[in-house]
Symmetry: C2
Subunit: 153 residues, 2 copies
Amino acid sequence: MKSNKSLSYEALLETFKSILRSNHLKFTAQREAILRTLYEHPDHFTPENLYLLVKEKYPDLNTGITTVYRTLNLLEENKLVTSLSFGTQGKKFELGNKPHHDHMICEVCGSIIEFEDPKIEALQQAIAKAHGFKLTNHLMQLYGICKKCQEKE
Amino acid sequence: MKSNKSLSYEALLETFKSILRSNHLKFTAQREAILRTLYEHPDHFTPENLYLLVKEKYPDLNTGITTVYRTLNLLEENKLVTSLSFGTQGKKFELGNKPHHDHMICEVCGSIIEFEDPKIEALQQAIAKAHGFKLTNHLMQLYGICKKCQEKE
DNA sequence: CTGTGTGCAAACATTTTGCAAGCAG
DNA sequence: CTGCTTGCAAAATGTTTGCACACAG
């Protein structure tokens, strides 16, 4: 499918393998299946979504949802994926091979639009600095109604 | 305690009562205890925190955690409180009687610093407009290490 | 009186953990 | 071989719901 990503799968896989090696962890078929599925579907996944998709694409591996959670946590700790919080309804994950960006979320259809704004990033840095705060990460989500859903009404 | 709020408790209480009236809901001692506790402690509460505090301050009411959840949801639907998501670890609520602001969250001690930046707000509006997106709300959280925790290390 | 609100216990949804067996290195 | 990894089931967490009694309007 959509393969015009900023990073090739081979490069991503190498990164993953080297993370595993340097932590004395093992490269397994399940871990690769999860990574590949994330790569081939540049969407925002709940762990459940991803679990179902991996099961569908690699039924022989009989991957459990436990492994999906464990692998997502591993990938997130190593910054290969990032997550968005949705209150009680858990998190959504996405592969972190794109440059940093933020999200606009449609409250009607749930679709997610990505955007990037260097000016906002710069302002965030300035604010943190003013409070003596050492920034490690940030999250910005704009909620509203997307173009399509406005037209439908 | 800190009572120099932008809104008096009486005014807040009236707002709450009129919301209840217009929805044919009832004004109860538990609901008032929860509202008052939120007002008197301008902190960021988990439902559990708030539940314990209400129990401590109004032991005779024997308020259950169920009621705290129900009341917080009611208040949030009516925009009297707002919430921040923390992934699996639930939400934190705060009384919405302050002007709009965003949050910086310390990853070490969990403390929350509030800030406000009109320039960022303006940029958000501009981005939404560029995507034909009708903004209703937004969330910005900066994660990092606060001044105190940096000094401790 | 009527119907909403309450606390309790149970149900739920999501994520994590304990364990015995499997497999990568 | 060693010990990390897996799937399963059970536990843990955070939140919601069903129910019978209580109480506001």
